[in-house]
Symmetry: C2
Subunit: 154 residues, 2 copies
């Protein structure tokens, strides 16, 4: 799919404010509302935009602990690991990656004791390495045209 300036502008606006109305979007890209709606629908149907989500602050919800748990899952145990650990509600991200620690989990917890319990579960499927998150400096940074067009390395 080919994206022009307007599509990129729309992607940028919607990544920053997913609830912006089509009328407002239309103003920002200097098009009529129907034309704007049409473009957004095309982005959705092309699978470029896969959805919209409210961004929630775990801290404010009583989840002060955030951690990255790396798990070196034994390959035979992978199905059970996926069923019994990856599915746990504390797991916000789970990626299968290359390297020794083949799974990377981002976890939120109410307390260190709960994190301890989580890690104990994960340990059943392989060795773990846990890092506590001090601070998140970037979260879900919008993807901009410069990344895709490679204006980054000049």
């Amino acid at each position: 799919m080919e994206l022009d300036d307007v599509d990129w502008k729309l992607l940028d606006l919607l990544q920053r404010d997913g609830r912006m109305t089509f009328t407002e979007l239309a103003k920002r890209v200097s098009l009529s509302a129907p034309a704007t709606t049409e473009r957004v629908r095309r982005l959705e149907q092309a699978g470029v935009v896969t959805g919209y989500a409210a961004v929630v602050d775990p801290q404010r919800l009583g989840l002060p602990i955030e951690a990255i748990v790396r798990v070196r899952v034994r390959s035979l145990d992978t199905p059970r690991f996926r069923e019994r650990v990856v599915t746990m509600a504390q797991v916000r991200d789970a990626d299968h990656v290359t390297g020794d620690d083949c799974w990377l989990l981002r976890v939120v917890c109410r307390s260190m004791v709960e994190l301890e319990g989580f890690v104990e579960q994960a340990q059943r499927y392989g060795d773990t390495t846990t890092s506590l998150v001090f601070s998140s400096h970037v979260r879900n940074r919008p993807i901009t045209r410069e990344v895709v067009d490679g204006i980054v390395y000049r």
Copy 2:
């Protein structure tokens, strides 16, 4: 802030569909539209909901490579690392964490060559460990009441 069943239901709905209209939300929680709007505004002002975002698929945008780069940044170099690496457009997440690898970056790239270039930049500030993402099994899983109320470990 105290959240009741309705607030949790709204949080759940909005985390899954950030563009759901207030009238639709109202139907789902069996309240009037103004009452529903009022509750969502309260969640926003309390900082529980920090925003709304379109979810975009990097693959469809010509960014087939996703990687986790761990960087053991020398403490004296941290300010420059934050300025010159964390700010790069390829960086979607950046967390400062405990442990030897004190920074964790989630990066998207057009090619392995570009990733190589990125890692070379990061290397200037400390040793790096790079893992390529095979597949993401969970991304930004909604935070539900069970996590916060701890129904998970019974």
